[in-house]
């Protein structure tokens, strides 16, 4: 009997195994993943499509990782059922794996709305290495020249860049008025939009795809899309990158409470004792909003996995929380966006902005009672971590407010007492 069973072996699963082994070097661990080699960097699949990275580079842990941490890895097999009374996980082969402590780290799956023609050959999602391999193979096989990417969020932007680098003409279709609308305000979004367009990408906003149509000579293969307003865009591929939703099918019908994701407490335990959840599948604490919610981000999945692992191994640990925090590199524009970066009609916040369109530099801070609660930095991110420290620790910035956005802002700007606390000098 395995003491610890972990379903899903990506960021959250890896984090949990590492944390368990910090405390319990003997207890048996079994990880289960339906991916053949799960320990790869999911965000790097765009570099795979563009040709910048091969699968070897993408591995975020060694091939020997599971063995080194004495974890049995059951890969390429799906877990299909849970029995919470018997304390077992059933695999698709019918085999049952008993557990004492269970972690659900099943992540997310792409959200694909119903669209006419979505079954056509050449329609893809973009979340796994398998997706990336299929897309790359398809491009080669049909010598694809153009693509429509549905969704202009982080994942949409990443696949758009990859396809553009491979020489395809890409049209991004976004329902909102602006690209990256969950991360950026309209001003920052326009700055990025300029760079994306300059790379030859066609951007359509305020519309969606109502229908995917076939090619003239082969209706089963993607030939184009029809937009909400009726225009047709011809293309060889369609990539649906609208977003990810928690992959909760394993717990459906079980006694584990789900809202949009699995509900957990600050030890990452679900309402069922000995059953934990972490990563994209869980609703964990957002310290800016002061509530639990879905935050599908790699660093948070890793952290939540750590917390779950420690608690599973008997060392009490509480999750300090995360927030919406993204760093983007696409189209040569570095962006950091954290927390309440784009508050709408909120009378309780104060907004500081500094923009320089010529240099394509944009900095914005959102404050509440002199504490930073949100930030955006475009094209000047090297000090973003210092600001994030102030945000995360709820530091009152009143005394140096006017210094935060000047170009010379640095650690030396901070009050001596804070420098001391941070241990920057002797």
């Amino acid at each position: 009997m395995a003491k610890y069973v972990i379903v899903g072996a990506s960021a959250a699963g890896i984090g949990a195994v590492e944390a368990i082994r910090e405390i319990d070097t003997a207890g048996t661990i079994t990880v289960i993943s339906d991916e053949a080699c799960p320990q790869y960097s999911r965000p790097m699949i765009s570099d795979y499509v563009s040709g910048k990275a091969d699968f070897n580079k993408m591995k975020c842990r060694d091939d020997e990782f599971w063995k080194q941490l004495k974890a049995e890895a059951i890969t390429g097999k799906k877990a299909t059922a849970l029995n919470l009374t018997e304390k077992t996980v059933t695999l698709e082969s019918g085999e049952k794996v008993p557990y004492e402590k269970l972690l659900l780290a099943t992540g997310g799956k792409p959200f694909v709305p119903k669209m006419e023609g979505q079954e056509k050959d050449g329609v893809f999602t973009f979340t796994t290495i398998t997706d990336a391999q299929r897309i790359a193979a398809k491009i080669d096989a049909i010598k694809a020249k153009s693509a429509v990417v549905i969704g202009a969020g982080l994942i949409g932007l990443s696949v758009t860049e990859a396809l553009t680098k491979r020489g395809l003409k890409v049209t991004m279709v976004e329902l909102q008025d602006k690209i990256l609308s969950l991360l950026l305000d309209p001003q920052a979004s326009e700055m990025v939009e300029g760079a994306v367009k300059a790379a030859g990408v066609n951007i359509v906003t305020g519309q969606s795809v109502q229908k995917i149509i076939g090619k003239h000579d082969n209706d089963a293969a993607v030939g184009g899309v029809i937009l909400t307003k009726g225009d047709t865009v011809q293309c060889d591929l369609v990539i649906v990158a609208i977003g990810v939703i928690p992959r909760t099918e394993l717990v459906a019908g079980a006694a584990i409470k789900i809202n949009r994701g699995i509900i957990v407490d600050n030890t990452m335990q679900t309402n069922v004792p000995d059953v934990y959840a972490s990563g994209d599948v869980a609703e964990a604490y957002d310290f800016v909003l002061g509530q639990n919610r879905l935050l599908p981000l790699w660093p948070l999945a890793m952290q939540e996995g750590h917390v779950a692992g420690h608690n599973m191994a008997g060392q009490k640990s509480t999750y300090e929380g995360g927030t919406n925090m993204s760093s983007l590199k696409y189209f040569g524009i570095p962006i950091v966006s954290i927390g309440l970066a784009n508050p709408k009609d909120d009378p309780t916040v104060e907004v500081l902005v500094k923009s320089d369109f010529e240099r394509k530099v944009y900095k914005k801070l959102v404050l509440r009672n002199n504490v930073i609660v949100g930030m955006t930095m475009v094209n000047c991110i090297e000090r973003a971590g210092v600001i994030f420290y102030l945000l995360k620790n709820g530091i009152n910035i009143k005394k140096f407010k006017d210094q935060l956005l000047v170009d010379s802002f640095c650690l030396a700007t901070l009050p001596a007492s804070l420098q001391k606390k941070m241990n920057v000098v002797q």
């Binding site: 965000p43 660093p299 590199k329 991110i381 090297e382 994030f388 640095c410 030396a412 941070m422 000098v425």
Partner: protein
């Protein structure tokens, strides 16, 4: 572990630490070439933090619970369990800048030409880190500290 420690009162803000760091991380190890012709441009991993009259040099603190290691999207950033050094493997790095977002010290630099990050590696192989060895005012020390 042994870390680089800044003595604020001794720092003149002259920037020689940056110069010597750049040269130590260049291919040619030649100051003129490192600054004028070498491509990709070598990058200093130490920065002068200046807010007059205060100045001091900062580089990676090799944090105990390093936020960059937890956040790294690719496993390029790791903590050596034996030495405590936070190591960066540029062959694994995808230049996503996630570590920059979470480093409280702003100690990670963008190597835009190579599309990876650059940070202090404590000058592995040298007797003493180049910034420490070359500070004219001994404003940097390399010494054993608690964490």
């Amino acid at each position: 572990m042994k870390k680089i420690v800044a003595k604020q009162e001794a720092c003149m803000g002259c920037g020689l630490c940056e110069v010597h760091c750049t040269v130590a991380h260049s291919k040619t190890k030649d100051i003129i070439k490192a600054y004028n012709s070498e491509r990709p441009k070598p990058i200093s991993r130490v920065t002068r933090e200046i807010q007059k009259p205060v100045s001091f040099a900062i580089q990676c603190r090799h944090c105990e619970d390093a936020p960059c290691v937890v956040a790294c999207l690719t496993g390029a950033m790791t903590k050596d369990p034996k030495t405590g050094e936070v190591k960066h493997n540029k062959d694994k790095c995808m230049g996503c800048w996630t570590c920059i977002m979470v480093c409280p010290y702003g100690a990670i630099k963008m190597d835009k030409e190579n599309k990876v990050i650059a940070k202090c590696d404590l000058c592995q192989g040298l007797k003493e880190p180049a910034c420490v060895a070359n500070c004219p005012n001994q404003a940097l020390e390399f010494k054993e500290v608690r964490s």
